[in-house]
């Protein structure tokens, strides 16, 4: 059942928030031993919250646009008093003393948080296999990965355990799992959604965004979480875009560029899906052209220098002093080292070391400095492309979901699965992954629409057309 139907039913009294919440918790109890989308469930507090919403509605109060809608949060979003581990041993059992802004906004909108979802440790990964607490499985085929890093949030929606969830996207961590799990995933414009209370990975790239079973629900959720927040100095002071009410405006006359670099190296069937999605847009009146943006092919290299560099700095805070786990030792340096060595998994260690190296004396210019200049090239190239087209269309992922264990021993192969999603983050732009069809293996294929900063309204309109025209 869609989030909007639940909110409508709960608001008009057809169903209670408690009944909806109990049903979601039961579905999770039935399915999650196999999928492992959740790291922590909040059954008790969810039911208390549901009862509060029901009481409010019984008194004639306004419960909000997500009244009684169960939602899951990626485990890197702080919730007061609820375990927030980032799927890392170093934060195992940590209970933040405050709510992230998105959590406060969801509460104000009447949503019911049911639990925290699995992820790659500190959001570093593309398969959710880097979780310290075991992988999540793809609900369409439990031998396959759900993608990552927000794999638990994608799988929870794909398995209909919850109609909505939130993830974070630093290099594709919402869109890639959305595509592999057959759900809608949105990476909003950098700064559109407050990151206050989001555990930082790479601060110039991280952005919170929605997962939903369809485009309309994703639009509804983004409207709820977007907006300026003085607690986040990177938050844009810009009105929340109107998405739901303008969703059906269509694409007549919209110029969409089929982007060569976002099809480069993708499987034949993914390529065919993207071209068929272009045909759907064209049939609805969009003007399709082919466009080459060669600079985008530099994105992967630049990203895997910039993101680790920022991560090495952000993760310096896990020193065993103020929060999280400590491994005792005789002096402070030995305690810091013992704590971090025991607390971080291999992928986090790789990224910290890579970032430390890229930032270190003698290598800064060759690696981090060069990557930052490439970032400028990519931003300029996008700007030039958006002089001739309104939106870009391409693949989200090179292939359908890959088998568990397939890429864990080869970090570079794993990184390649982000090749189509990374350029958007480097530019700070929005993009959306929309389920389109299935591959010969029966697994979902999602196409990706990209736009310039703050083009969410157009992106959602085009995404809706693709969704409506996608093969059943």
């Amino acid at each position: 059942m869609s989030a909007r139907s639940i909110a409508r039913d709960v608001t008009d009294g057809t169903r209670t928030a408690r009944a909806v919440t109990e049903e979601a918790l039961q579905t999770i109890a039935d399915q999650d031993s196999e999928i492992h989308a959740f790291l922590d469930l909040q059954n008790e507090s969810a039911l208390i919250r549901a009862d509060e919403i029901d009481a409010l509605i019984a008194k004639g109060g306004e419960a909000g646009p997500l009244a009684g809608v169960p939602i899951a949060l990626k485990d890197n979003m702080c919730q007061e008093g609820e375990v927030t581990s980032c799927a890392s041993k170093i934060l195992a059992g940590w209970r933040p003393p405050y709510d992230a802004t998105v959590v406060a906004k969801l509460r104000a909108a009447g949503a019911v948080v049911v639990g925290k979802t699995n992820m790659d440790e500190f959001a570093m990964g593309s398969s959710t296999e880097n979780s310290a607490f075991g992988p999540t499985r793809n609900p369409h085929d439990v031998t396959k990965v759900p993608g990552g890093s927000s794999g638990g949030s994608a799988a929870a929606v794909a398995a209909a355990m919850v109609p909505l969830s939130l993830g974070s996207d630093t290099g594709g961590s919402i869109r890639q799992p959305a595509a592999l799990c057959g759900v809608v995933g949105v990476k909003p414009t950098y700064g559109l959604v407050s990151r206050y209370g989001l555990v930082a990975f790479a601060s110039s790239l991280d952005q919170i965004g929605p997962f939903a079973a369809d485009v309309t629900d994703a639009a509804l959720l983004l409207e709820v979480i977007a907006g300026h927040d003085f607690m986040d100095s990177t938050s844009l002071n810009f009105p929340v875009p109107t998405l739901v009410d303008r969703l059906h405006d269509g694409v007549e006359g919209l110029k969409v560029g089929l982007c060569h670099e976002l099809l480069n190296g993708v499987s034949d069937e993914v390529n065919a899906s993207v071209r068929n999605a272009a045909k759907v847009l064209e049939d609805a009146g969009a003007l399709i052209s082919e466009i080459a943006i060669p600079e985008l092919s530099l994105g992967l290299s630049a990203y895997y220098l910039i993101a680790p560099a920022e991560a090495s700095s952000n993760l310096a805070r896990y020193d065993g002093v103020r929060y999280g786990v400590r491994v005792d030792a005789d002096d402070v340096t030995a305690m810091n080292t013992a704590t971090r060595t025991a607390g971080f998994g291999d992928e986090v260690k790789r990224r910290i070391m890579l970032g430390t190296y890229a930032l270190s004396a003698g290598y800064y210019d060759a690696y981090y400095g060069q990557a930052q200049r490439v970032r400028t090239l990519i931003i300029s190239a996008f700007a030039k492309a958006y002089e001739s087209v309104d939106l870009l269309l391409g693949a989200t992922t090179p292939t359908t979901a890959f088998p568990l264990g397939d890429k864990v021993g080869d970090p570079m192969a794993m990184y390649q699965s982000d090749i189509c999603t990374i350029p958007t983050n480097l530019a700070g732009h929005p993009a959306i992954a929309v389920p389109f069809n299935r591959g010969t293996d029966g697994l979902p294929i999602g196409v990706q629409l990209l736009g310039p900063a703050l083009s969410e309204q157009r992106l959602f309109q085009a995404a809706k057309v693709i969704e409506d025209g996608a093969p059943a």
Binding site: W94, R95, P96, P97, Y98, Y190, S204, F230, M231, S233, T234, L298, S301, A302, Y304, L305, S312, A316, D319, V321, R322, Y323, D328, A329, D330, D331, V332, T333, A334, M335, N336, T337, R340, T341, F344, K349, R350, I352, M353, T356, Y357, S360, Y363, A366, Y367, G369, Q370, A371, Q372, R373, V374, R375, T376, L377, D410, P411, M412, Y415, A427, G428
Partner: protein
């Protein structure tokens, strides 16, 4: 034109691990060196570009010096913050001794 650095060595990995406060076994040094080298090899396309005159981008938004209004607001309770710390003593975070005893 930037100078292309020599390939990452095992000593480089030991050095950055020390800087990052990570302790690696000899076997881990070998594995991480190989893996990090493959990422840096991939980045050779970026290293090799002549980007003199291109300004670096640190951040996608053109914003600077963002300040909130200078108003007194509610802040976290000290007890709530200490509740999450591994060791606390006398309303302070407790750590092993940093400086030696006085001579």
């Amino acid at each position: 034109m930037t100078v292309v650095p020599a390939p990452l060595s095992e000593d480089d990995v030991r050095h950055v691990a020390k800087l990052a406060r990570l302790s690696l076994s000899d076997a881990e040094v070998v594995t991480f060196t190989e893996q990090l080298r493959s990422v840096l090899d991939h980045a050779a396309d970026v290293e090799a570009l002549d980007l003199d005159g291109v300004l670096p981008t640190a951040h996608p938004l053109e914003i600077s010096n963002v300040l909130r209004a200078d108003e007194i607001r509610e802040s976290l309770e000290r007890a709530e913050v200490f509740a999450a710390a591994p060791r606390v003593a006398d309303n302070r975070f407790s750590v092993p001794k940093i400086v030696g005893d006085a001579p």
